[in-house]
């Protein structure tokens, strides 16, 4: 009887692979036919979809590499010691970690997940995850380049850094009382945390574990990235950017509409300042809202968060980041006059 599953399993696996390969082949032929027929929407969608993925996927893999290295090479005791630090100290230090770890938003998600799994305080890990894509040197320099020659250049760079840290701290503070079990979503196939032993594995087992965790994180996050990027590309293809132009002069609506647009476009935080600078009909506060909200909440991140964190996390992030960004950027607008 024991032989039955071991004989049947490879056949079943081969059948599943063949089915998926057939579907992929059919999808490729269908897309080719649509492009051949000159359907501009299909061509635009595929170009935006592919370019977003080509830019973001290496960062997902790098995030997975760092995450796997933390799991296999860093002893859990190191995070336990960090977790014993007072929270008012832990969270700002984690938030400022972005200066030392210059990744955009896709790379910070697997790292934050692993930090929580290894015992870092959820508040600190979430603060790091949200602040790192803004508080990294590459992003701040690109913001300065995008706004060079304008009076508001320093206000935008410093405002982005300060507000990014403040909003990340606000979300960290809100999730501070959640346990690891409440914060993380459990039960993934290749992405499962395979029971963390107190002692680190040695020799070949260590590398086996490294690649196992790397592949697990990749499979877990890449699928949500693909879905999120597909949604972002569809919105970019079918919704004209001019529809938000009519509310540019209305203070609250102007800020809210650029936050919404940042969520739709799902741009990388290293390039979004160039797009924000093009919205000259909007005030500096609305542009700052675009630059702070987008790297923390967008279509692709929504799916990444939903696949990584537990129930309610996406709602918490959207509400806290949205409210804090809206309030702070309206004040920013007032202060700039």
């Amino acid at each position: 009887m024991e032989l039955v599953p071991s004989v049947a399993a490879p056949t079943r696996s081969a059948r599943n692979i063949a089915l998926v390969a057939l579907a992929l082949g059919a999808g490729g032929l269908l897309a080719r036919a649509a492009q051949g027929a000159g359907v501009a929407q299909v061509q635009t969608f595929v170009l935006i979809f592919s370019s977003l993925l080509i830019e973001a996927l290496p960062f997902i893999v790098l995030g997975a590499v760092v995450s796997a290295a933390i799991e296999v090479f860093v002893p859990g005791a190191a995070f336990a010691r960090l977790a014993r630090l007072p929270r008012p100290l832990q969270m700002p230090v984690a938030g400022l970690g972005g200066f030392a770890f210059p990744v955009c938003e896709c790379g910070s998600v697997p790292v934050a997940r692993r930090l929580v799994a290894k015992g870092m305080a959820p508040a600190a890990a979430v603060t790091f995850m949200l602040a790192a894509p803004i508080l990294n040197p590459v992003v701040l320099v690109s913001t300065a380049v995008a706004y060079r020659g304008r009076e508001v250049m320093w206000a935008m760079v410093l405002g982005r850094a300060a507000l990014g840290l403040l909003v990340a701290l606000a979300v960290g503070w809100v999730v501070a009382n959640r346990s690891k079990r409440e914060l993380l979503r459990g039960g993934h196939e290749e992405g499962a945390d395979h029971g963390h032993a107190a002692a680190l594995p040695r020799g070949r087992r260590r590398w086996r574990g490294f690649f196992e965790h790397l592949a697990g994180d990749f499979v877990l996050l890449a699928r949500y990235l693909v879905i999120g990027v597909a949604v972002a590309a569809a919105l970019q293809t079918f919704v004209s950017q001019s529809v938000i132009g009519s509310v540019a002069d209305t203070p609250v609506l102007g800020v809210a509409s650029l936050m919404l647009l940042a969520g739709v476009l799902s741009l990388c935080s290293e390039s979004d300042a160039f797009v924000a600078a093009s919205f000259v009909q909007f005030g500096a506060g609305a542009q700052l809202a675009f630059l702070v909200f987008g790297p923390m909440v967008d279509a692709k991140l929504g799916f990444l968060y939903a696949g990584t964190f537990g129930k309610g996390f996406v709602r918490t992030v959207v509400v806290v980041v949205g409210a804090a960004t809206l309030a702070a950027t309206l004040w920013f607008e007032v202060l700039l006059g």
Binding site: V20, T44, S50, L57, F218, C268, F274
Partner: protein, 233 residues
Amino acid sequence: MSRTWSPLRTATGAVLAAWAGLFWFLLLTGRSPLYLSDRTAWVVPLGAVVLSVAAAGRLATARSEATEPLPRRTAWWLGLIVMPVVLVLALPPAALGSYAASRRSAVAAGVVPAQGLSSGPVTLVHVAAAMWSPDARRQLVARAGTSVSFVGFVSRRAGMPTDEFVITRFLVSCCVADALSVQVRVVGAPPGRFAQDQWVRVTGSVYPLGREVLVEASEVEAVPRPDRPYLNV
């Protein structure tokens, strides 16, 4: 206990290998400018190397003592991750065209530099600067009547006379998703000779009119799409 190839691990390794293959393909065929700007082109070799190492590592550790079948649900998830690779490889190379131009923003001040506008050839990047920057516009006004040669694709607005069209080029900062358009109105073109999205070279004299820039064409010729269809900053 003997180890056998785990279908689950092997399939995951194959997915990583497929993505690594796509990055090598982009690198070797020089197609990355269709998706990324020069500023972010380094992502392609990085992705190729990291994904190759990850795929090799996963495949090297894909033999397992336990039976690990590939469940149908997981197979579909893996298929979803591979789907973009299939799309890029299955479709002929293309670039954003007039449909995208009708739905995206134009470039703005600060995004593009106006250096070299006071002397030397006038480029589409200079035109982009002049669309919003008063300083760049003043410099372009001083160059009114200068001979220019612009390459871009044809797009038409409703109600345009038959001897006019708009030549458009996209400017990309990181990837195609952040593309912003630069547009110049062309007058005196051969009526009805150039179709929408046809790539052309327009030679003529440039005249800024407020925020719009116009070229009085002396010659318009069809050209193949450039290998680097997007302008970079």
